[in-house]
Protein backbone atom coordinates (compact mmCIF):
# COMPACT_ATOMS: atom_id res chain seq x y z
CA UNK A 1 0.00 0.00 0.00
CA UNK A 2 1.25 3.47 0.91
CA UNK A 3 4.60 4.17 -0.70
CA UNK A 4 7.41 6.65 -0.35
CA UNK A 5 8.24 9.10 -3.13
CA UNK A 6 11.67 10.61 -3.71
CA UNK A 7 12.00 13.46 -6.14
CA UNK A 8 15.47 14.59 -7.25
CA UNK A 9 16.52 17.51 -9.48
CA UNK A 10 13.13 17.71 -11.16
CA UNK A 11 12.67 20.29 -13.94
CA UNK A 12 9.22 20.57 -15.49
CA UNK A 13 8.65 22.16 -18.89
CA UNK A 14 5.74 23.36 -21.00
CA UNK A 15 7.37 23.16 -24.44
CA UNK A 16 10.48 25.32 -24.08
CA UNK A 17 9.19 27.12 -21.01
CA UNK A 18 10.73 25.98 -17.74
CA UNK A 19 7.80 26.03 -15.30
CA UNK A 20 9.31 24.40 -12.21
CA UNK A 21 13.02 24.11 -11.49
CA UNK A 22 15.19 21.91 -9.31
CA UNK A 23 12.74 20.20 -6.98
CA UNK A 24 14.29 17.84 -4.41
CA UNK A 25 11.93 16.33 -1.89
CA UNK A 26 11.04 13.14 -0.07
CA UNK A 27 7.39 12.41 0.58
CA UNK A 28 6.76 10.08 3.51
CA UNK A 29 4.30 7.19 3.31
CA UNK A 30 1.14 7.21 5.45
CA UNK A 31 1.24 10.95 5.87
CA UNK A 32 -0.26 14.06 4.38
CA UNK A 33 2.09 16.42 2.58
CA UNK A 34 0.73 19.86 1.76
CA UNK A 35 2.03 22.12 -1.00
CA UNK A 36 1.35 25.83 -0.59
CA UNK A 37 2.36 28.94 -2.47
CA UNK A 38 0.98 31.76 -4.61
CA UNK A 39 -0.92 31.14 -7.87
CA UNK A 40 1.15 30.17 -10.86
CA UNK A 41 4.17 29.00 -8.86
CA UNK A 42 4.01 25.41 -10.09
CA UNK A 43 2.38 23.50 -7.22
CA UNK A 44 -0.24 21.89 -9.41
CA UNK A 45 2.27 21.31 -12.20
CA UNK A 46 4.54 19.51 -9.78
CA UNK A 47 1.64 17.48 -8.42
CA UNK A 48 0.57 16.46 -11.91
CA UNK A 49 4.10 15.40 -12.79
CA UNK A 50 4.05 12.84 -9.95
CA UNK A 51 1.46 10.67 -11.70
CA UNK A 52 2.58 11.68 -15.19
CA UNK A 53 -0.57 13.65 -15.89
CA UNK A 54 1.65 16.58 -16.82
CA UNK A 55 2.55 15.04 -20.16
CA UNK A 56 -1.13 14.92 -21.15
CA UNK A 57 -0.79 18.66 -21.81
CA UNK A 58 0.68 19.30 -25.30
CA UNK A 59 4.40 20.03 -24.98
CA UNK A 60 4.53 18.96 -21.34
CA UNK A 61 7.77 17.15 -20.38
CA UNK A 62 9.95 16.49 -17.37
CA UNK A 63 13.67 16.18 -16.59
CA UNK A 64 15.01 14.56 -13.46
CA UNK A 65 13.88 11.65 -11.35
CA UNK A 66 10.80 10.66 -9.40
CA UNK A 67 11.27 7.34 -7.61
CA UNK A 68 8.45 5.54 -5.82
CA UNK A 69 9.75 2.75 -3.54
CA UNK A 70 12.71 2.17 -5.83
CA UNK A 71 10.73 2.31 -9.07
CA UNK A 72 11.71 5.17 -11.38
CA UNK A 73 8.39 6.59 -12.58
CA UNK A 74 10.03 8.20 -15.60
CA UNK A 75 12.10 5.17 -16.57
CA UNK A 76 12.29 4.38 -20.29
CA UNK A 77 10.18 1.22 -20.06
CA UNK A 78 7.54 2.58 -17.65
CA UNK A 79 4.04 2.98 -19.06
CA UNK A 80 2.39 6.20 -17.83
CA UNK A 81 -0.91 4.33 -17.66
CA UNK A 82 0.59 1.94 -15.07
CA UNK A 83 1.91 4.87 -13.05
CA UNK A 84 -1.56 6.42 -12.94
CA UNK A 85 -3.05 3.14 -11.75
CA UNK A 86 -0.74 3.32 -8.72
CA UNK A 87 -1.09 7.06 -8.09
CA UNK A 88 -4.66 8.31 -8.00
CA UNK A 89 -5.77 11.89 -8.34
CA UNK A 90 -8.61 14.14 -7.19
CA UNK A 91 -9.15 17.39 -9.06
CA UNK A 92 -10.07 20.91 -8.06
CA UNK A 93 -13.54 20.81 -9.58
CA UNK A 94 -15.63 17.70 -8.91
CA UNK A 95 -15.77 15.80 -12.20
CA UNK A 96 -17.99 12.71 -11.97
CA UNK A 97 -18.71 11.10 -15.34
CA UNK A 98 -22.06 12.57 -16.41
CA UNK A 99 -23.19 9.48 -18.31
CA UNK A 100 -22.73 7.16 -15.34
CA UNK A 101 -24.68 6.48 -12.18
CA UNK A 102 -23.19 6.87 -8.72
CA UNK A 103 -22.42 3.14 -8.67
CA UNK A 104 -20.85 3.20 -12.11
CA UNK A 105 -18.77 6.23 -11.23
CA UNK A 106 -17.19 4.42 -8.30
CA UNK A 107 -16.73 1.28 -10.40
CA UNK A 108 -15.35 3.32 -13.32
CA UNK A 109 -11.71 2.49 -12.57
CA UNK A 110 -12.54 -1.23 -12.79
CA UNK A 111 -15.10 -1.08 -15.59
CA UNK A 112 -13.15 1.27 -17.86
CA UNK A 113 -10.09 -0.91 -17.54
CA UNK A 114 -12.23 -3.96 -18.38
CA UNK A 115 -11.05 -5.87 -15.35
CA UNK A 116 -13.17 -8.92 -14.80
CA UNK A 117 -14.80 -8.91 -11.41
CA UNK A 118 -17.74 -10.76 -9.97
CA UNK A 119 -20.85 -8.69 -9.40
CA UNK A 120 -20.80 -9.35 -5.66
CA UNK A 121 -17.11 -8.41 -5.40
CA UNK A 122 -17.78 -5.21 -7.32
CA UNK A 123 -20.72 -4.41 -5.04
CA UNK A 124 -18.43 -4.88 -2.04
CA UNK A 125 -15.75 -2.69 -3.58
CA UNK A 126 -18.24 0.10 -4.35
CA UNK A 127 -19.63 -0.02 -0.82
CA UNK A 128 -16.16 -0.09 0.72
CA UNK A 129 -15.00 2.86 -1.40
CA UNK A 130 -18.12 4.90 -0.69
CA UNK A 131 -17.77 4.16 3.04
CA UNK A 132 -14.12 5.13 2.77
CA UNK A 133 -15.17 8.45 1.27
CA UNK A 134 -17.84 8.99 3.96
CA UNK A 135 -20.55 9.03 1.34
CA UNK A 136 -22.21 5.62 1.75
CA UNK A 137 -24.96 6.67 4.14
CA UNK A 138 -25.98 9.57 1.93
CA UNK A 139 -26.20 7.67 -1.34
CA UNK A 140 -26.85 4.01 -0.49
CA UNK A 141 -30.52 4.30 -1.49
CA UNK A 142 -29.86 5.90 -4.85
CA UNK A 143 -26.80 4.20 -6.27
CA UNK A 144 -28.46 3.95 -9.68
CA UNK A 145 -29.09 7.70 -9.93
CA UNK A 146 -26.72 9.89 -11.99
CA UNK A 147 -23.63 11.13 -10.14
CA UNK A 148 -24.18 14.62 -11.49
CA UNK A 149 -27.31 14.94 -9.34
CA UNK A 150 -25.34 15.11 -6.08
CA UNK A 151 -24.32 18.35 -4.38
CA UNK A 152 -20.84 19.76 -5.00
CA UNK A 153 -19.38 18.39 -1.78
CA UNK A 154 -20.96 14.98 -2.36
CA UNK A 155 -19.65 14.96 -5.93
CA UNK A 156 -16.14 15.65 -4.66
CA UNK A 157 -16.40 12.78 -2.17
CA UNK A 158 -17.74 10.63 -5.01
CA UNK A 159 -14.60 11.51 -6.97
CA UNK A 160 -12.48 10.53 -3.96
CA UNK A 161 -14.38 7.23 -3.74
CA UNK A 162 -13.72 6.70 -7.42
CA UNK A 163 -10.03 7.39 -6.94
CA UNK A 164 -9.60 5.05 -3.94
CA UNK A 165 -11.67 2.28 -5.57
CA UNK A 166 -8.71 1.36 -7.79
CA UNK A 167 -6.65 1.03 -4.60
CA UNK A 168 -3.71 3.24 -5.48
CA UNK A 169 -0.59 3.62 -3.32
CA UNK A 170 -0.59 7.38 -3.43
CA UNK A 171 -3.42 9.90 -3.61
CA UNK A 172 -2.82 13.33 -5.14
CA UNK A 173 -5.31 16.09 -4.39
CA UNK A 174 -5.30 19.31 -6.37
CA UNK A 175 -7.13 21.88 -4.24
CA UNK A 176 -9.88 19.36 -3.49
CA UNK A 177 -11.89 21.69 -1.28
CA UNK A 178 -11.49 25.04 -3.01
CA UNK A 179 -14.85 24.78 -4.79
CA UNK A 180 -16.70 23.68 -1.64
CA UNK A 181 -18.42 25.31 1.31
CA UNK A 182 -16.90 25.10 4.86
CA UNK A 183 -19.06 22.13 5.92
CA UNK A 184 -18.11 20.07 2.88
CA UNK A 185 -14.50 21.18 3.32
CA UNK A 186 -14.56 19.87 6.87
CA UNK A 187 -15.97 16.56 5.62
CA UNK A 188 -13.14 16.27 3.09
CA UNK A 189 -10.52 17.13 5.72
CA UNK A 190 -11.86 14.52 8.14
CA UNK A 191 -11.81 12.07 5.29
CA UNK A 192 -8.17 12.85 4.54
CA UNK A 193 -7.24 12.17 8.16
CA UNK A 194 -8.84 8.70 7.79
CA UNK A 195 -7.31 8.03 4.41
CA UNK A 196 -3.74 8.71 5.47
CA UNK A 197 -3.76 5.41 7.40
CA UNK A 198 -3.83 3.65 4.02
CA UNK A 199 -2.43 6.09 1.48
CA UNK A 200 0.36 8.54 0.95
CA UNK A 201 -1.47 11.81 0.39
CA UNK A 202 -0.13 14.91 -1.33
CA UNK A 203 -2.45 17.92 -1.34
CA UNK A 204 -2.15 21.28 -3.07
CA UNK A 205 -4.03 24.02 -1.26
CA UNK A 206 -4.41 27.78 -1.22
CA UNK A 207 -5.86 27.61 2.23
CA UNK A 208 -3.01 27.83 4.76
CA UNK A 209 -5.25 26.95 7.69
CA UNK A 210 -6.18 23.81 5.84
CA UNK A 211 -2.51 22.94 5.31
CA UNK A 212 -1.84 23.58 9.01
CA UNK A 213 -4.84 21.48 10.06
CA UNK A 214 -4.34 18.38 7.99
CA UNK A 215 -0.69 17.96 6.99
CA UNK A 216 2.44 16.59 8.61
CA UNK A 217 4.86 18.03 6.07
CA UNK A 218 4.51 21.26 4.13
CA UNK A 219 6.32 22.47 1.04
CA UNK A 220 6.34 26.14 0.05
CA UNK A 221 6.62 26.95 -3.65
CA UNK A 222 7.44 30.41 -4.94
CA UNK A 223 8.73 32.17 -8.01
CA UNK A 224 10.90 35.25 -8.33
CA UNK A 225 8.83 36.95 -11.00
CA UNK A 226 6.60 36.48 -14.00
CA UNK A 227 8.25 34.21 -16.57
CA UNK A 228 10.65 32.79 -13.97
CA UNK A 229 10.43 29.11 -13.05
CA UNK A 230 8.79 28.16 -9.77
CA UNK A 231 10.96 26.62 -7.04
CA UNK A 232 10.45 24.66 -3.89
CA UNK A 233 11.65 27.23 -1.38
CA UNK A 234 11.23 25.27 1.80
CA UNK A 235 10.11 21.80 2.82
CA UNK A 236 9.72 21.12 6.52
CA UNK A 237 7.37 19.66 9.10
CA UNK A 238 4.15 21.66 9.08
CA UNK A 239 4.61 22.84 12.67
CA UNK A 240 7.99 24.29 11.88
CA UNK A 241 6.78 25.95 8.66
CA UNK A 242 3.95 27.72 10.45
CA UNK A 243 5.84 28.68 13.62
CA UNK A 244 9.48 29.12 12.76
CA UNK A 245 10.24 28.76 9.02
CA UNK A 246 13.84 28.67 7.80
CA UNK A 247 13.24 31.04 4.92
CA UNK A 248 12.15 34.66 5.08
CA UNK A 249 9.97 34.25 1.97
CA UNK A 250 8.01 31.48 3.67
CA UNK A 251 7.41 33.60 6.74
CA UNK A 252 6.31 36.57 4.61
CA UNK A 253 3.86 34.41 2.69
CA UNK A 254 2.40 32.73 5.74
CA UNK A 255 2.04 35.93 7.73
CA UNK A 256 0.39 37.68 4.80
CA UNK A 257 3.27 40.09 4.19
CA UNK A 258 3.95 38.63 0.82
CA UNK A 259 5.73 40.62 -1.90
Amino acid sequence: MAKRIDVSDLNIYYGDFLAVEGVNVSIEPRSITALIGPSGCGKSTFLRSINRMHEVVPGGRVEGKIVMDGQDLYGPDVDPVDVRRQIGMVFQRPNPFPTMSIYENVAAGIRLNSKKMKKSDLDDLVERSLRGANLWNEVKDRLARPGAGLSGGQQQRLCIARAIAVEPDVLLMDEPASALDPISTLAIEDLMADLKERFTIVIVTHNMQQAARVSEQTGFFNLNGVGQPGRLIEFNPTEKIFSNPDQKATEDYISGRFG
Binding site: G109, L112, N113, P146
Partner: protein
Protein backbone atom coordinates in the same frame (compact mmCIF):
# COMPACT_ATOMS: atom_id res chain seq x y z
CA UNK B 1 -40.06 47.75 -48.40
CA UNK B 2 -37.79 50.74 -48.93
CA UNK B 3 -39.96 52.86 -46.69
CA UNK B 4 -39.60 50.43 -43.83
CA UNK B 5 -35.86 50.22 -44.09
CA UNK B 6 -35.31 53.96 -44.26
CA UNK B 7 -37.59 54.74 -41.35
CA UNK B 8 -35.12 54.07 -38.49
CA UNK B 9 -32.54 56.39 -40.09
CA UNK B 10 -34.96 59.25 -39.88
CA UNK B 11 -35.90 58.52 -36.26
CA UNK B 12 -32.29 57.98 -35.26
CA UNK B 13 -31.45 61.57 -36.20
CA UNK B 14 -34.52 63.14 -34.68
CA UNK B 15 -34.90 61.06 -31.51
CA UNK B 16 -32.06 62.51 -29.38
CA UNK B 17 -33.27 66.07 -29.94
CA UNK B 18 -36.92 65.21 -29.47
CA UNK B 19 -36.64 63.00 -26.41
CA UNK B 20 -35.61 65.81 -24.11
CA UNK B 21 -38.46 68.13 -24.97
CA UNK B 22 -41.19 65.58 -25.54
CA UNK B 23 -41.01 63.34 -22.51
CA UNK B 24 -44.50 62.12 -21.84
CA UNK B 25 -45.93 59.85 -19.19
CA UNK B 26 -49.07 58.64 -20.97
CA UNK B 27 -49.66 54.98 -21.71
CA UNK B 28 -51.26 53.49 -24.81
CA UNK B 29 -53.82 50.75 -24.35
CA UNK B 30 -52.69 47.18 -25.05
CA UNK B 31 -54.83 46.99 -28.16
CA UNK B 32 -53.66 50.32 -29.60
CA UNK B 33 -50.93 48.89 -31.92
CA UNK B 34 -53.36 46.29 -33.24
CA UNK B 35 -55.94 48.99 -33.81
CA UNK B 36 -53.34 50.94 -35.81
CA UNK B 37 -52.83 47.97 -38.12
CA UNK B 38 -56.55 47.33 -38.41
CA UNK B 39 -57.06 50.97 -39.32
CA UNK B 40 -54.25 50.79 -41.87
CA UNK B 41 -55.89 47.70 -43.39
CA UNK B 42 -59.21 49.52 -43.69
CA UNK B 43 -57.58 52.56 -45.33
CA UNK B 44 -55.62 50.47 -47.81
CA UNK B 45 -58.77 48.37 -48.46
CA UNK B 46 -60.73 51.51 -49.33
CA UNK B 47 -57.97 52.59 -51.72
CA UNK B 48 -57.80 49.12 -53.34
CA UNK B 49 -60.16 49.94 -56.27
CA UNK B 50 -58.41 53.26 -56.93
CA UNK B 51 -54.91 51.86 -57.30
CA UNK B 52 -55.68 48.38 -58.67
CA UNK B 53 -53.87 46.57 -55.83
CA UNK B 54 -53.22 42.85 -55.48
CA UNK B 55 -53.01 40.88 -52.22
CA UNK B 56 -49.20 41.20 -51.89
CA UNK B 57 -49.28 44.98 -52.33
CA UNK B 58 -52.24 45.18 -49.94
CA UNK B 59 -50.26 43.43 -47.19
CA UNK B 60 -47.15 45.48 -47.91
CA UNK B 61 -48.95 48.83 -47.75
CA UNK B 62 -50.90 47.80 -44.66
CA UNK B 63 -47.69 46.85 -42.84
CA UNK B 64 -45.91 50.05 -43.84
CA UNK B 65 -48.84 52.27 -43.00
CA UNK B 66 -49.58 50.43 -39.75
CA UNK B 67 -45.96 50.65 -38.61
CA UNK B 68 -45.92 54.34 -39.36
CA UNK B 69 -49.15 54.86 -37.46
CA UNK B 70 -47.91 52.91 -34.43
CA UNK B 71 -44.69 54.90 -34.41
CA UNK B 72 -46.33 58.32 -34.66
CA UNK B 73 -49.07 57.49 -32.18
CA UNK B 74 -46.63 56.12 -29.61
CA UNK B 75 -44.34 59.07 -30.10
CA UNK B 76 -47.20 61.45 -29.45
CA UNK B 77 -48.47 59.64 -26.35
CA UNK B 78 -45.55 57.77 -24.75
CA UNK B 79 -42.44 59.59 -25.98
CA UNK B 80 -39.68 58.80 -28.43
CA UNK B 81 -37.97 55.94 -26.55
CA UNK B 82 -41.13 53.84 -26.49
CA UNK B 83 -41.80 54.86 -30.12
CA UNK B 84 -38.39 53.54 -31.21
CA UNK B 85 -39.02 50.35 -29.26
CA UNK B 86 -42.36 49.80 -31.02
CA UNK B 87 -40.85 50.63 -34.41
CA UNK B 88 -38.07 48.07 -34.00
CA UNK B 89 -40.58 45.49 -32.76
CA UNK B 90 -42.64 46.07 -35.92
CA UNK B 91 -39.54 45.75 -38.12
CA UNK B 92 -38.43 42.51 -36.45
CA UNK B 93 -41.88 40.95 -36.71
CA UNK B 94 -42.18 42.04 -40.37
CA UNK B 95 -38.80 40.48 -41.16
CA UNK B 96 -39.89 37.26 -39.48
CA UNK B 97 -43.12 37.26 -41.49
CA UNK B 98 -41.17 37.88 -44.70
CA UNK B 99 -38.89 34.94 -43.92
CA UNK B 100 -41.87 32.66 -43.33
CA UNK B 101 -43.51 33.51 -46.68
CA UNK B 102 -41.36 31.27 -48.93
CA UNK B 103 -41.29 28.45 -46.36
CA UNK B 104 -45.04 28.34 -45.86
CA UNK B 105 -45.85 28.81 -49.53
CA UNK B 106 -43.41 26.03 -50.47
CA UNK B 107 -44.93 23.58 -48.01
CA UNK B 108 -48.43 24.64 -49.04
CA UNK B 109 -47.67 24.24 -52.74
CA UNK B 110 -46.07 20.82 -52.33
CA UNK B 111 -48.78 19.53 -50.01
CA UNK B 112 -51.67 20.80 -52.12
CA UNK B 113 -50.24 19.42 -55.36
CA UNK B 114 -48.71 16.27 -53.94
CA UNK B 115 -51.55 15.13 -51.70
CA UNK B 116 -53.62 13.97 -54.68
CA UNK B 117 -51.40 10.97 -55.36
CA UNK B 118 -50.36 10.26 -51.78
CA UNK B 119 -52.15 6.93 -51.90
CA UNK B 120 -51.43 3.25 -51.43
CA UNK B 121 -50.57 2.70 -55.06
CA UNK B 122 -47.84 5.35 -54.92
CA UNK B 123 -46.06 3.42 -52.17
CA UNK B 124 -46.78 -0.05 -53.55
CA UNK B 125 -46.05 -0.03 -57.25
CA UNK B 126 -43.22 0.99 -59.53
CA UNK B 127 -43.51 2.50 -62.99
CA UNK B 128 -43.18 -0.78 -64.89
CA UNK B 129 -45.74 -0.80 -67.69
CA UNK B 130 -47.20 2.56 -66.70
CA UNK B 131 -47.87 4.98 -69.55
CA UNK B 132 -50.50 7.31 -68.24
CA UNK B 133 -52.49 7.16 -65.02
CA UNK B 134 -51.49 5.27 -61.88
CA UNK B 135 -48.05 3.97 -61.10
CA UNK B 136 -46.00 4.82 -58.08
CA UNK B 137 -42.57 5.43 -56.65
CA UNK B 138 -41.98 2.23 -54.68
CA UNK B 139 -38.76 1.65 -56.62
CA UNK B 140 -37.60 5.24 -56.08
CA UNK B 141 -38.44 5.27 -52.36
CA UNK B 142 -36.65 1.97 -51.79
CA UNK B 143 -33.74 3.18 -53.95
CA UNK B 144 -33.42 6.34 -51.87
CA UNK B 145 -33.47 4.30 -48.66
CA UNK B 146 -30.84 1.83 -49.95
CA UNK B 147 -28.54 4.56 -51.27
CA UNK B 148 -28.91 6.66 -48.11
CA UNK B 149 -28.25 3.66 -45.87
CA UNK B 150 -25.15 2.78 -47.89
CA UNK B 151 -23.96 6.38 -47.79
CA UNK B 152 -24.44 6.48 -44.02
CA UNK B 153 -22.58 3.19 -43.66
CA UNK B 154 -19.60 4.64 -45.55
CA UNK B 155 -19.65 8.19 -44.16
CA UNK B 156 -20.36 7.80 -40.47
CA UNK B 157 -17.35 5.64 -39.50
CA UNK B 158 -14.97 7.70 -41.63
CA UNK B 159 -16.46 10.99 -40.45
CA UNK B 160 -16.57 10.10 -36.76
CA UNK B 161 -13.05 8.71 -36.75
CA UNK B 162 -11.73 11.76 -38.57
CA UNK B 163 -13.42 13.98 -36.00
CA UNK B 164 -11.98 11.92 -33.12
CA UNK B 165 -8.53 12.13 -34.72
CA UNK B 166 -8.84 15.90 -35.12
CA UNK B 167 -10.01 16.50 -31.56
CA UNK B 168 -8.03 13.90 -29.60
CA UNK B 169 -4.83 13.25 -31.53
CA UNK B 170 -3.97 15.76 -34.29
CA UNK B 171 -1.68 18.67 -33.41
CA UNK B 172 -0.33 21.75 -35.11
CA UNK B 173 0.13 21.88 -38.86
CA UNK B 174 -1.44 18.53 -39.69
CA UNK B 175 -4.59 19.47 -37.76
CA UNK B 176 -4.86 22.83 -39.51
CA UNK B 177 -4.34 21.21 -42.91
CA UNK B 178 -7.05 18.58 -42.34
CA UNK B 179 -9.49 21.13 -40.93
CA UNK B 180 -8.89 23.34 -43.96
CA UNK B 181 -9.45 20.47 -46.40
CA UNK B 182 -12.64 19.43 -44.60
CA UNK B 183 -13.88 23.02 -44.86
CA UNK B 184 -13.12 23.04 -48.57
CA UNK B 185 -14.93 19.72 -48.99
CA UNK B 186 -17.99 21.12 -47.23
CA UNK B 187 -18.29 23.65 -50.04
CA UNK B 188 -17.83 21.24 -52.96
CA UNK B 189 -20.73 21.59 -55.43
CA UNK B 190 -22.68 18.35 -55.44
CA UNK B 191 -22.33 17.91 -59.20
CA UNK B 192 -18.54 17.81 -58.75
CA UNK B 193 -18.93 14.96 -56.27
CA UNK B 194 -21.06 13.14 -58.83
CA UNK B 195 -18.52 13.65 -61.61
CA UNK B 196 -15.77 12.44 -59.27
CA UNK B 197 -17.58 9.19 -58.52
CA UNK B 198 -18.48 8.75 -62.18
CA UNK B 199 -14.90 9.31 -63.32
CA UNK B 200 -13.56 6.98 -60.61
CA UNK B 201 -15.75 4.08 -61.72
CA UNK B 202 -15.37 4.86 -65.42
CA UNK B 203 -11.63 4.15 -65.04
CA UNK B 204 -12.28 0.58 -63.93
CA UNK B 205 -15.62 -0.32 -65.48
CA UNK B 206 -15.62 1.77 -68.63
CA UNK B 207 -17.69 4.82 -69.56
CA UNK B 208 -21.46 4.78 -69.34
CA UNK B 209 -21.46 2.75 -66.14
CA UNK B 210 -24.36 3.27 -63.69
CA UNK B 211 -24.30 1.67 -60.25
CA UNK B 212 -25.95 2.31 -56.89
CA UNK B 213 -22.63 2.18 -55.11
CA UNK B 214 -21.34 5.02 -57.31
CA UNK B 215 -24.15 7.23 -56.04
CA UNK B 216 -23.42 6.24 -52.46
CA UNK B 217 -19.76 7.18 -52.89
CA UNK B 218 -20.68 10.50 -54.51
CA UNK B 219 -23.03 11.27 -51.61
CA UNK B 220 -20.36 10.19 -49.11
CA UNK B 221 -18.04 12.83 -50.53
CA UNK B 222 -20.74 15.35 -49.61
CA UNK B 223 -21.69 13.80 -46.28
CA UNK B 224 -18.30 13.06 -44.70
CA UNK B 225 -17.28 16.71 -44.21
CA UNK B 226 -20.68 17.51 -42.68
CA UNK B 227 -20.31 14.61 -40.24
CA UNK B 228 -16.72 15.61 -39.42
CA UNK B 229 -17.60 19.22 -38.70
CA UNK B 230 -20.62 18.50 -36.52
CA UNK B 231 -18.90 15.65 -34.64
CA UNK B 232 -15.80 17.79 -34.10
CA UNK B 233 -17.84 20.59 -32.56
CA UNK B 234 -19.64 18.14 -30.27
CA UNK B 235 -16.46 16.34 -29.17
CA UNK B 236 -14.82 19.66 -28.37
CA UNK B 237 -17.65 20.34 -25.93
CA UNK B 238 -16.70 17.36 -23.76
CA UNK B 239 -14.94 18.92 -20.75
CA UNK B 240 -11.24 18.15 -20.57
CA UNK B 241 -11.70 17.38 -16.89
CA UNK B 242 -13.54 14.18 -17.79
CA UNK B 243 -10.63 13.01 -19.93
CA UNK B 244 -8.21 13.83 -17.13
CA UNK B 245 -10.41 12.08 -14.57
CA UNK B 246 -10.28 8.99 -16.74
CA UNK B 247 -6.52 9.19 -17.35
CA UNK B 248 -5.99 9.61 -13.59
CA UNK B 249 -7.76 6.29 -13.04
CA UNK B 250 -5.14 4.65 -15.23
CA UNK B 251 -7.42 4.27 -18.24
CA UNK B 252 -5.58 4.28 -21.58
CA UNK B 253 -6.35 7.04 -24.06
CA UNK B 254 -8.30 4.94 -26.57
CA UNK B 255 -10.47 3.49 -23.82
CA UNK B 256 -11.08 6.98 -22.48
CA UNK B 257 -12.31 8.00 -25.92
CA UNK B 258 -14.51 4.93 -26.39
CA UNK B 259 -15.96 4.77 -22.87
CA UNK B 260 -16.01 8.38 -21.66
CA UNK B 261 -15.72 10.93 -24.49
CA UNK B 262 -18.03 9.31 -27.03
CA UNK B 263 -20.77 8.27 -24.54
CA UNK B 264 -20.76 11.77 -23.05
CA UNK B 265 -21.33 13.32 -26.48
CA UNK B 266 -23.51 10.57 -27.99
CA UNK B 267 -26.60 12.78 -28.11
CA UNK B 268 -24.81 15.46 -30.12
CA UNK B 269 -23.15 12.90 -32.37
CA UNK B 270 -26.48 11.21 -33.13
CA UNK B 271 -28.11 14.54 -33.90
CA UNK B 272 -25.24 15.58 -36.16
CA UNK B 273 -25.30 12.31 -38.08
CA UNK B 274 -29.08 12.45 -38.54
CA UNK B 275 -28.95 16.01 -39.83
CA UNK B 276 -26.12 15.04 -42.18
CA UNK B 277 -28.33 12.25 -43.55
CA UNK B 278 -31.15 14.75 -44.01
CA UNK B 279 -28.70 16.93 -45.90
CA UNK B 280 -27.83 14.28 -48.52
CA UNK B 281 -31.14 12.43 -48.82
CA UNK B 282 -32.48 15.02 -51.26
CA UNK B 283 -29.34 15.41 -53.40
CA UNK B 284 -30.19 15.21 -57.09
CA UNK B 285 -27.30 16.21 -59.30
CA UNK B 286 -24.75 13.51 -58.33
CA UNK B 287 -27.40 10.78 -58.50
CA UNK B 288 -28.47 11.96 -61.94
CA UNK B 289 -25.07 11.05 -63.39
CA UNK B 290 -24.16 8.08 -61.21
CA UNK B 291 -27.45 6.20 -60.87
CA UNK B 292 -29.56 7.28 -63.79
CA UNK B 293 -33.19 6.21 -63.56
CA UNK B 294 -35.20 3.05 -64.09
CA UNK B 295 -38.88 2.22 -64.11
CA UNK B 296 -38.39 -1.13 -62.40
CA UNK B 297 -37.40 -1.91 -58.84
CA UNK B 298 -33.68 -2.55 -58.35
CA UNK B 299 -32.47 -2.92 -54.78
CA UNK B 300 -28.97 -4.16 -55.57
CA UNK B 301 -26.56 -1.22 -55.48
CA UNK B 302 -23.92 -3.28 -57.31
CA UNK B 303 -26.05 -4.09 -60.32
CA UNK B 304 -27.00 -1.37 -62.75
CA UNK B 305 -29.29 1.61 -62.63
CA UNK B 306 -31.39 2.52 -59.60
CA UNK B 307 -34.22 4.97 -59.12
CA UNK B 308 -34.20 7.53 -56.31
CA UNK B 309 -36.86 10.04 -55.27
CA UNK B 310 -35.17 13.29 -56.38
CA UNK B 311 -34.15 11.88 -59.77
CA UNK B 312 -37.60 10.31 -60.11
CA UNK B 313 -39.23 13.69 -59.51
CA UNK B 314 -36.88 15.30 -62.01
CA UNK B 315 -37.66 12.84 -64.80
CA UNK B 316 -41.39 12.77 -64.09
CA UNK B 317 -41.46 16.54 -64.46
CA UNK B 318 -39.13 16.93 -67.47
CA UNK B 319 -40.21 13.86 -69.47
CA UNK B 320 -43.84 13.42 -68.50
CA UNK B 321 -45.13 11.78 -71.66
CA UNK B 322 -48.60 12.46 -73.06
CA UNK B 323 -50.78 13.63 -71.37
CA UNK B 324 -48.33 15.19 -68.88
CA UNK B 325 -50.79 15.52 -65.99
CA UNK B 326 -50.25 12.10 -64.38
CA UNK B 327 -46.45 12.27 -64.39
CA UNK B 328 -46.51 15.81 -63.02
CA UNK B 329 -48.73 14.67 -60.16
CA UNK B 330 -46.30 11.85 -59.40
CA UNK B 331 -43.41 14.35 -59.37
CA UNK B 332 -45.16 16.53 -56.77
CA UNK B 333 -46.00 13.53 -54.61
CA UNK B 334 -42.37 12.40 -54.80
CA UNK B 335 -41.34 15.88 -53.62
CA UNK B 336 -43.84 15.64 -50.77
CA UNK B 337 -42.52 12.23 -49.70
CA UNK B 338 -38.99 13.63 -49.75
CA UNK B 339 -40.02 16.53 -47.50
CA UNK B 340 -41.74 14.12 -45.12
CA UNK B 341 -38.57 11.99 -45.04
CA UNK B 342 -36.38 15.00 -44.17
CA UNK B 343 -38.88 16.18 -41.57
CA UNK B 344 -38.96 12.71 -40.06
CA UNK B 345 -35.16 12.70 -39.85
CA UNK B 346 -35.22 16.04 -38.07
CA UNK B 347 -37.73 14.72 -35.56
CA UNK B 348 -35.50 11.68 -35.02
CA UNK B 349 -32.55 14.01 -34.42
CA UNK B 350 -34.48 15.87 -31.74
CA UNK B 351 -35.58 12.65 -30.08
CA UNK B 352 -31.99 11.39 -30.05
CA UNK B 353 -30.71 14.54 -28.41
CA UNK B 354 -33.49 14.37 -25.82
CA UNK B 355 -33.15 10.70 -24.87
CA UNK B 356 -29.37 10.38 -24.90
CA UNK B 357 -28.46 13.62 -23.19
CA UNK B 358 -26.74 13.09 -19.80
CA UNK B 359 -29.33 13.34 -17.05
CA UNK B 360 -28.78 15.37 -13.95
CA UNK B 361 -31.19 13.18 -11.97
CA UNK B 362 -32.22 15.75 -9.40
Amino acid sequence: MSQISTAPVATGSSAPGGSRGTRRTGRLARWAPWACFAGAAVVVGVLWPLFDLNIALFVLYTVVLGTLAVYLLTRAVEGSRQATNRLVTCLVVSAFGLAMVPLVSLVWEVVSRGAARLDGEFFNSSLVGIVGEGGGAYHAIMGTLVITALTTLISVPIGLMTAIFLVEYARGRLKRAITFLVDVMTGIPSIVAGLFAYALFAIFLGPGIRLGIMGAIALSVLMIPVVVRSAEEVLKLVPNELREASYALGVPKWRTIVKVVVPTSIAGLGTGVTLAIARVVGETAPLLITLGITNATNLDPFDGRMATLPVYAYYQLTQPGVPPQFATDRAWTAALVLIILVMGLNVVARLISRFFAPKSGR
